[in-house]
Symmetry: C2
Subunit: 417 residues, 2 copies
C-alpha cells in the first residue's frame, strides 16, 4: 500500500488530525497528561503522573490508587532472547502508558491498513496516576522438576521461597502462581484495564495470561494523613501500615538492600498476593460487638479497642488474644509488611452468594521474615478465619526500578547472568 493511499484513506475517514481535546480537571488532583491520537497534552496544574523512572518501582510506596487490575502470566516462549525482547518492549509501553501516552503510534496514529499500536480505550483519559509494577515468580527461575528454563536458576533469590501450605488454605491453581505478574493501579479502572490489556497484546504468543483480578476499591493506605478506606467487612483497613513518607521503615522492611543479595534485587521487593474470599453472609449476621472484637478495633472510628481515635496507640490488653490486629501488630508478631490490597466482587458463586473479598497484596524485604511467619500465625490463631478463606496465592520477586530511558524491566537479572 502506498503512502498516498493511506493519506487519502485518512481523508475519506474524516481524519482531521486535531486529536482529542478533553477537560482535564480530574478527581484526585493527579493528572499530568491526556492521551490523544497524536500526542500528549499537558493538563495544567491539576497534578502529576507518577514517575516511571527511579531506584525502586512505582506502585509500592506510591500513595495507593483507587483501582487495581492485576495479571499473572505464564511464559510460553522457550527462547531467552525473545523473553528479553518482550521485557524491553513492555518497559517501553509501560513508560508511555504511565505518563498518559498511548503505546507506539497510538490508536489512530499509525497506518490505516495496520492494526493500531494502542487499543484506544484510554484515549482522552488522563494518566490517572497509573503505575505498572512487574514481578518474577519462582517458576521463571526453576521448573517443577528442578530444571533451568532460562539460565536463571542460580539467580533465584533465596528470599523468593515457594509459599508453604498454611492451615485453612483452599487454593485454586487457576488463580495461583504464574511466571510473571503485572500490578496495574490507577484511579480510573479503565486506565488500569487498558494497560494490562495492551501489555497482554504485546506479549501475544510469548506469554499467556494465567489469571487476572480486578480490584474495585483500595483497602489500604500509605498516606496516614488521608481518609482510610474500608474493606468489605465495613472496617477501616490500612490504618497501621508502612507510610509512603517513612523511608527509614521502607529501607528496613520493604526494599531489598545491596547486602541482602542477590545483587540484581537491590532496590527491589517481594510481593505476596492472596485472593481471600469473605463469607459475607455469615459476617453480616455477626453482632457488631463480636465484629469489633475480632479485629480489635471499633467499626465506626477504627480506634483500637479501649482507645478513642483511629491513630491512637493500641492497648493490646483490652483486645481478645485472638484479635486480628493484636496478632498482626509488629509489636506482637515481630513482622512489618507493607499492605496494598483491594476489594473484589466477581459475580456470584452458583449458590446465590457474592464471590467477594479481599485481594491481599503485601510487599516486604524478605518473604521468609514477612508474610510467611505472619500468615502462619494468623492462619492458626486469628478469630477472623471463621469468616474468610484463602483461595488464590502467588509470590514474586519485584526487581528494582527502571533507571532511565535506556533501562528495562529485569535488566540487572538478565544482562549480568
Amino acid at each position: 500500500m502506498s503512502e498516498e493511499t493511506v493519506t487519502s484513506r485518512r481523508k475519506v475517514l474524516g481524519w482531521t488530525g486535531a486529536g482529542v481535546v478533553v477537560a482535564a480537571t480530574a478527581a484526585g488532583g493527579a493528572v499530568a497528561a491526556v492521551r490523544s491520537g497524536d500526542d500528549v497534552q499537558p493538563a495544567g496544574a491539576a497534578g502529576a503522573a507518577v514517575a516511571f523512572h527511579g531506584a525502586n518501582q512505582a506502585g509500592i510506596t506510591t500513595p495507593v490508587q483507587d483501582r487495581l487490575h492485576f495479571a499473572s502470566f505464564d511464559v510460553k516462549t522457550e527462547d531467552r532472547e525473545e523473553l528479553v525482547a518482550l521485557l524491553k518492549e513492555w518497559t517501553d509501553a509501560a513508560r508511555k502508558m504511565t505518563q498518559g501516552r498511548p503505546v507506539g503510534e497510538g490508536a489512530v496514529g499509525g497506518l490505516a491498513e495496520a492494526p493500531p499500536d494502542d487499543t484506544g480505550e484510554a484515549l482522552g483519559l488522563p494518566s490517572s496516576r497509573l503505575t505498572l509494577t512487574i514481578g518474577f515468580g519462582p517458576s521463571l527461575f526453576t521448573t517443577k522438576d528442578g530444571g533451568d528454563r532460562f539460565g536463571l536458576k542460580a539467580h533465584r533469590p533465596e528470599a523468593l521461597v515457594d509459599l508453604p501450605k498454611f492451615p485453612g488454605d483452599a487454593l485454586d491453581p487457576n488463580r495461583s502462581g504464574g511466571d510473571l505478574c503485572i500490578q496495574a493501579c490507577a484511579d480510573d479502572p479503565q486506565v488500569a484495564v487498558h494497560a494490562i490489556r495492551n501489555l497482554a497484546r504485546i506479549g501475544f504468543g510469548k506469554v499467556a495470561m494465567r489469571w487476572s483480578q480486578l480490584g474495585f476499591g483500595k483497602t489500604s493506605s500509605t498516606t496516614p494523613e488521608e481518609q482510610t478506606p474500608r474493606n468489605l467487612m465495613g472496617f477501616k483497613d490500612g490504618t497501621h501500615n508502612v507510610a509512603g513518607s517513612d523511608r527509614a521503615a521502607q529501607d528496613k522492611h520493604v526494599w531489598v538492600s545491596a547486602k541482602d543479595g542477590p545483587s540484581w534485587m537491590a532496590g527491589g521487593s517481594y510481593l505476596v498476593a492472596r485472593r481471600i474470599r469473605m463469607h459475607i453472609e455469615t459476617w453480616d449476621r455477626t453482632p457488631l460487638r463480636e465484629q469489633e472484637e475480632i479485629f480489635g478495633r471499633t467499626k465506626g472510628e477504627g480506634a483500637p479497642i479501649g482507645r478513642q481515635r483511629e491513630h491512637d496507640a493500641p492497648d493490646f490488653k483490652a483486645m481478645l488474644p485472638d484479635a486480628h490486629v493484636r496478632l498482626a501488630h509488629p509489636d506482637n508478631s515481630g513482622v512489618t509488611i507493607l499492605r496494598r490490597g483491594y476489594s473484589f466482587t466477581d459475580g456470584t458463586d452458583g449458590l446465590g452468594r457474592l464471590d467477594a473479598g479481599l485481594f491481599f497484596i503485601a510487599y516486604q524485604r524478605d518473604v521468609r521474615d514477612g508474610f510467611v511467619p505472619l500468615q502462619m500465625r494468623l492462619a492458626k490463631l486469628d478469630s477472623l478465619n471463621e469468616y474468610i478463606q484463602h483461595v488464590g496465592s502467588a509470590v514474586y520477586a519485584v526487581p528494582p526500578g527502571v533507571r532511565d530511558e535506556d533501562d528495562w524491566w529485569g535488566r540487572e537479572l538478565f544482562q549480568n547472568h
Copy 2:
C-alpha cells in the same frame, strides 16, 4: 441484655458517638450527603444526590454514572405477602442509600449485641450519584409451565416478551434471566457494590442472587454535551443516544404511557440486558481502517465516516452496508432505544484470554418495537458479529418511580391486583 450493658460496652469499645467526618469535595461535583455512623452530613455546595422519588425511576435518563453493579435475583419465597414486605423494605433501604444514608440505624448506630443494619463499607463515602433501579422479569409473572406464582399472571405486560433466540446467541443460563433485577449505578463502585450487597442481605431467605455483573466503565452517554466514553474496542460509544434532556424523545421511545397499558406500568420502561463478550485478541489484530468500517465511525474523533466531527449527521452512503451504525441508526432501523451499557473484565477464560466485553443495557417503551427487531437485524447483518458473542440475556419490566415516602417499588402492580 440491658440498656446499661450496651452503654458500658460502647464505652469499652471506645465509641465516642462522634461519627465520621469526611472531606466531601468529591469528583463529579454531585455529592449531597456523606454517610456517617449517626446521620448524614451536608456536603456543602459540591452537588446533589440523585432524587429517589419521582414519576419515573432514576438510573434510566439520569446522566450515566461511571460504574455499575447489576444483580439478578430469583424469588425463593412462595408467599406473596412476604414478597411485598421485601419490596417495601428494599424501597426503604434504596431511598436511604441513594441519598447517602446508611440502611436502618447504620453500621454502628444499633445495639452492639446485634448485627449492624448496614454493612458499613460505604461509611464516610458520599452518595456518588447512586441510583437503584428495579425490574420484574417474565418469570415473576408466569412459571415455565404457564403457572401463576403470585397471582400476577394476568398482569404481565404484553410488551414483556420472552426474548427470541437470535442468530449467534450462545447464552449461559447462569448469566441469564431472573425474577427481579436491581441496577446500581454510581460514580464510586464501592457505593454500588455496597447497595447491592445490602439489598441482598435484606432479602436473605426470600430471594437469592442468580447472577451479578460489575461494570467498570460506562460505554454510553445521556449527556451529549459531555465527553463520550470509549468501549473496550477503543471507540466512542454513546454518541447518538436518547439524551437525558430530551423529554419528547423519552416519551416517544423510553417511557410507557398510560394508554400503552397495563396501567401499573405507566411511567415505567423495559430493560434488556445482554452480556456481550468481545473477542478482544482478534479485534486487536484488525487494521484500523477495517475497525472504522465495521462501526461506520472514525476511531479518534468518533465522526461518521466521511464527516469531520463526532456529532455531525451521518452519511450512510459513505458507510459499508453492514456497518454497525448504519444498521442501527433509527433512520435505517426504525428503532430508537436508550443505551446505558458498561464495560466489564471478569478475569480470564482459561485459554489465556481476558473475559471482557460490553454489558449492554437498553431501555425502551416496548421490547417488541425496540431491542427485538433491532437485534434481529444486527444479529443477521452486522459486520461486528465476527468480534462479539452474546453470552447472557435478560429482560425486565421496570415499574414507574416511587412517588413519595409512603410509596414502594411495585405498589401499582401488587396493590391493585
